[in-house]
């Protein structure tokens, strides 16, 4: 006789750096139902944004998340620039790509390390984070901060990057590329690792699309969806092509993130090679009036900003839909049928960022 039992997974769990709860219904070790739930650390930043000057709101949006703070700031200022019809200098567009892709590299390396730790491969975790430190160091050197680098502003960027630092960034990208090439074989071909990732957490292309999956979650299922193809900032001039897989499982998501790291290294180096001379910002006058929906591609996928200005310095509404918020519903389909031991691995492959989700 099968008996069902219900257990909570999280909000506190060794595999979760941030609080997320799954209510799991089990038959023996097999999951028959999973209901995700959030709400443990909601900060109400959207409401707080209504009380701030729109320039101050840039700082606020950068603090939604530490892992993709530069891209949060970039998306917000791009939206305000659209409302105010501001065309920023070309050099600023390229600098935004360089810092944004450095964020993607460190985010993917962070995830790869956490993922290795989740299936018990601690030396692989340390190798990934050792390389991530190189990226953090160059962000500190170019911006003065390791995490919330705060380089974007309405009208362009606040800082330029010196030629010495540009040379250093290229060197670091080459090192990260070479080191990750060595680790790729373990992540994708090691017998034990494949046993934990192949066919686990499977999602079809149709399921991924209908459940609104974004980023590597969607692309690992063969959904060709990457907003960088829209060509915002300088992406239209860098020959960007989305990375795709078709396996739809944890292995596919790992592969997409590894190959995206290579593509980010290439984008950074191409942006540096093609970096135009000139100003890094234009003066901004007046206040935003009107509404816009702005979208960019973060490491975890599409982020959506809705911004509404009323002609005063305070914005009437700032709404942020982060990629993790869009990827959580996929758990409703991926987890049922899986083994309890696979839950940490499946959950981590959505790259859950609760800081973003609980903005």
């Amino acid at each position: 006789m099968n008996t069902k039992s219900t257990i909570p997974f999280g909000p506190q769990h060794p595999v979760l750096p941030e609080p997320l709860n799954l209510k799991l219904v089990l038959e023996d070790e097999k999951i028959v139902e999973a209901v995700p739930s959030i709400g443990y650390v909601h900060r109400g930043l959207e409401k707080l944004a209504e009380t701030k000057d729109f320039n101050q709101t840039t700082f606020l949006m950068e603090r939604i998340c530490g892992i993709c703070s530069a891209i949060h700031g970039q998306t917000f200022v791009q939206g305000v620039e659209k409302i105010m019809n501001i065309e920023i200098p070309d050099r600023a567009k390229y600098l935004r790509v360089i810092w944004g892709e450095l964020h993607r590299i460190h985010s993917h390396l962070l995830w790869l390390g956490l993922f290795a730790d989740a299936f018990g491969f601690e030396s692989l975790f340390m190798q990934c984070w050792r390389d991530r430190e190189k990226v953090m160091d160059i962000m500190e050197a170019t911006s003065g901060a390791r995490v919330v680098i705060s380089v974007n502003k309405v009208g362009g960027v606040k800082r330029d990057i010196s030629s010495e630092h540009l040379t250093e960034i290229v060197r670091i990208c080459d090192e990260v590329y070479a080191d990750l090439k060595k680790m790729e074989n373990t992540f994708l071909n090691d017998y034990t690792v494949r046993h934990r990732t192949e066919g686990v957490g499977y999602l079809t292309k149709e399921q991924a699309y209908s459940l609104g999956a974004v980023g590597p979650m969607a692309r690992a299922c063969g959904v060709p969806q990457d907003l960088r193809t829209l060509g915002y900032a300088a992406y239209g001039k860098l020959g960007f092509q989305p990375v795709m897989e078709t396996t739809g499982d944890c292995w596919g998501r790992t592969s997409v993130r590894i190959k995206e790291t290579y593509e980010s290294c290439r984008l950074v180096k191409t942006a540096i090679a093609d970096l135009p001379a000139g100003d890094i910002a234009v003066p901004v006058k007046g206040n935003p009036s009107g509404e816009v929906v702005e979208r960019t591609e973060q490491p975890r996928g599409e982020v959506v900003y809705y911004i509404k200005g009323n002609g005063t310095k305070n914005l009437e509404r700032v709404r942020v839909r982060t990629p993790t918020f869009a990827n959580i519903p996929t758990l409703l389909v991926m987890l049922p049928g899986s083994q309890l031991a696979d839950v940490p691995v499946i959950l981590l492959t959505i790259d859950p960022c609760i800081s973003c989700t609980e903005r």
Binding site: K47, I83, S210, G212, Q225, T229, R295
Partner: protein
Amino acid sequence: MIPNVIEVTKDQLLGETQKMAANGFRFATATCTDLGEGKLDVLYHFDKENDLHNLRLKAEKDEEVPSISKIYLCAILIENEMKELFGLNVQGMAIDYGGHLILGVDSLKTPQSKITIEQRSAK
């Protein structure tokens, strides 16, 4: 300034959403804005090949609005969030968190609503 916006009533919402699904659109998210005086503005955002289309619904706070989660299951989180944070009266959600997806039992109700100082002091 937002392109591709179709204004809908609550009676048209499910029909128009069904058309989006039939035309292969992905549900991206929804945005609720409190316009003051008990009026809410809800934008439902849909994407197809990076082309964004939107349905705009104006609703009163107490007015019942149908859930689109029977068409797009992934709408459950945002519908629950709009219900809790703005007081949008969404009915028939595929998973209803009973007002506690984000808010705790002793949390301030509809914390993202516009509220005057007089209303706040009366609470």
